[in-house]
Symmetry: C2
Subunit: 392 residues, 2 copies
């Protein structure tokens, strides 16, 4: 996969007429560059430069003791050093003499912002007597294309992770009962995941995240000792990593009271509002459109139905990371910088995950995953059509 | 532990007369700041600022959906936002009005260089109409003190991780035989680690690292299908994580030929040169000394014995990370920047890990761990005194 993505990066360099992509890092186990998961697949210790050129050169300048490990992981021509990378870097740059040089710095996109400020200063200092510092530009557009355009094997890995996750959700429906705690449900999910030999898609403290009732955090928090009560909603945010790629899905359950024969009207209305917001957003999602317009469709639909708008974006890309890619389906808020204005491309894989609060019951959420095709999207997850109801 | 380290950070701010420590991050699962393992203990999603002041203020400015998770992990006063952190950041800075502000940027120390260049630009842009950008300075000295000075509970956790590792090494001595592959030995170690419910101290691909014979990579690479032969050396680099803290140790074995009754003279001489280099370096290591001088003692001892010098530093600190802390026992090479000139302090925990090649047999390495006390060091590992010999 690394070789395929490196090859794809070379194509994208050509397409965007950028001569060189220079990734400058050190001690990546402490400060990883988010792009090295696709372009290297391992860590390095001392100051290292990974260089791709539009002419197809793939060069790694690394500390001597990292040499073998880099060779074992990715098809770079490895040149190693002992005392300082400086002279090696200068001579390599001069030999290639690139006119446009992309470096991983970006105010907009965390995925294109792996270069630390200290390393940026070192790079400028090393190259100060060359013309190359003046030729630096952000790798944003390279990163967006490379992370976004999934190759076949990446798509298959994501599909496989989704399938495993949906299978576990089905088992949860058979297992879960009023009186269990969030932690119990989470523990059951972890057991199922481990039986499958899989690992969580994000921080294990919050994956799975299980939220029940009207007082839960609702997002980005771990399961608690809160007990599931009848009349409450439970929503779960969960994904697995399989063959390096992840899923990220949410489902909503309702626990009936002893005297109920169906979920209350307001719970069903909340669930169906979310479901239909996703349907409407998915129907409009296609190449060439700016992400914020898709977010707006779902957001407005929910507000029009009388609910408060959700305090996050409608959807993000998935890949090796749970929050992957550059283009986002999100509002034009400062915190998202320019990402809502990036254009949707074929090959991208997005979540769709609006949310709303059903007063007194809990949070209704669904998170589906779609892949963008030439004319529109295809759901990779089997969408939740009905509220999942658990009898007392 | 997080609360203790935050309290220690406030003391260090006072000691160094710095008014504020400002840590500015986003999506820390992709671009973590290395200091948040000690000062937060979880991840955050949107642009977030963690602020500590010499007056004891602990403030976290975070996206609204991260609020609960931050509260669950660390004792910050959490203030959340939805659209943009900008106004909140400006008003918080104005309220505190610090004269000296440390930010995590450093050319010298990866641990103090968690601020990406893109985030640095955003920070400067947000605060451009305030006096605060001019008051920024590197957090290097804060980071060095906070990571270096282990509190009691940290030291106990490290000791415990070391004990588990030495126990596994003992089991390896009983298990390993000529004819096994490096991967088999590594697999045995992983099994032992999992039986203890522990995880590896660094990248599991290279932890344990098992090297045998004269043709192995020798460092920073994973185990291979290479078969252990008689007449060869095996060295293992391995550590575990226990209660969040790690060990990092190396040991050397020799596999006797059928007709040998002891290891060859040159293998023993290689091993003992390493052992004595560590003894000499440890004897000189004490507070106030610059790290490079300790490296020099071991390096010169090995060179004087007729071997090539090793291509890395003699030792690094350990803690939550296998390569932890700031001060290094390393040569004055450009790749280590100013770290070799930092002064050793009491409370720091260092590895001592020289290496040399025994021609035709393999690499001799030992890695011990010591804690620096007022007058000198105390070994936390039970030092390897003799070459461990395996009979055919």
């Amino acid at each position: 996969m690394i070789s395929q993505k490196i090859q794809q990066a070379v194509s994208i360099l050509n397409e965007q007429q950028i001569d060189m992509w220079l990734i400058f890092v050190r001690e990546t186990s402490s400060t990883p560059d988010p792009m090295l998961d696709l372009l290297l697949g391992t860590h390095c210790t001392w100051a290292s430069a990974f260089i791709l050129t539009s002419t197809g050169k793939k060069i790694a300048l690394v500390g001597s003791l990292d040499r073998q490990n880099i060779i074992d992981h990715a098809p770079y021509k490895v040149i190693d050093y002992v005392g300082s990378i400086k002279d090696l870097l200068i001579s390599t740059m001069k030999e290639i003499d690139p006119a446009r040089i992309a470096i991983n710095t970006s105010q907009n996109d965390v995925m294109a912002d792996g270069l630390t400020h200290g390393m940026y200063e070192i790079l400028c200092e090393y190259l100060k007597d060359t013309p190359y510092v003046q030729r630096f530009e952000s790798s944003e557009s390279l990163v967006a294309a490379l992370r976004g355009r999934k190759v076949h094997a990446e798509l298959e890995a994501i599909k496989s992770a989704i399938k495993e996750t949906l299978d576990i959700f089905e088992k949860v429906s058979k297992y879960v009962k009023v009186g269990m705690t969030e932690k119990q449900v989470a523990g059951f999910i972890v057991d199922q995941m481990e039986k499958k030999g899989l690992s969580p898609a994000w921080d294990p403290e919050q994956c799975p995240a299980v939220f029940t009732g009207p007082n839960s955090a609702g997002a980005h928090a771990g399961p608690t000792d809160r007990v599931i009560e009848s009349g409450h909603i439970m929503n779960i945010d969960f994904g697995v990593r399989k063959n390096g790629y992840v899923s990220d899905l949410q489902r909503t359950w309702y626990f009936m009271k002893p005297d109920e024969i169906r979920a209350p009207e307001e719970v069903i209305r909340g669930f169906e509002t979310i479901r239909d917001a996703i349907r409407n957003a998915a129907a409009a999602l296609k190449p060439g459109i700016e992400g914020w317009t898709i977010d707006h469709i779902a957001r407005q639909f929910i507000v029009d139905a009388g609910y408060e708008e959700f305090q996050h974006g409608l959807g993000h890309q998935v890949g090796r990371k749970a929050h992957d890619g550059s283009a986002l389906l999100c509002p034009r808020w400062d915190r998202y910088k320019k990402l809502p204005f990036l254009k949707v491309e074929a090959g991208q894989v997005y979540t769709l995950e609006p949310r709303l609060t059903v007063e007194g019951a809990g949070i209704a959420t669904i998170e589906e995953i779609v892949v963008v095709k030439g004319e529109g999207v295809q759901f990779l997850s089997d969408p939740q059509q009905e509220l999942w109801v658990i009898k007392s």
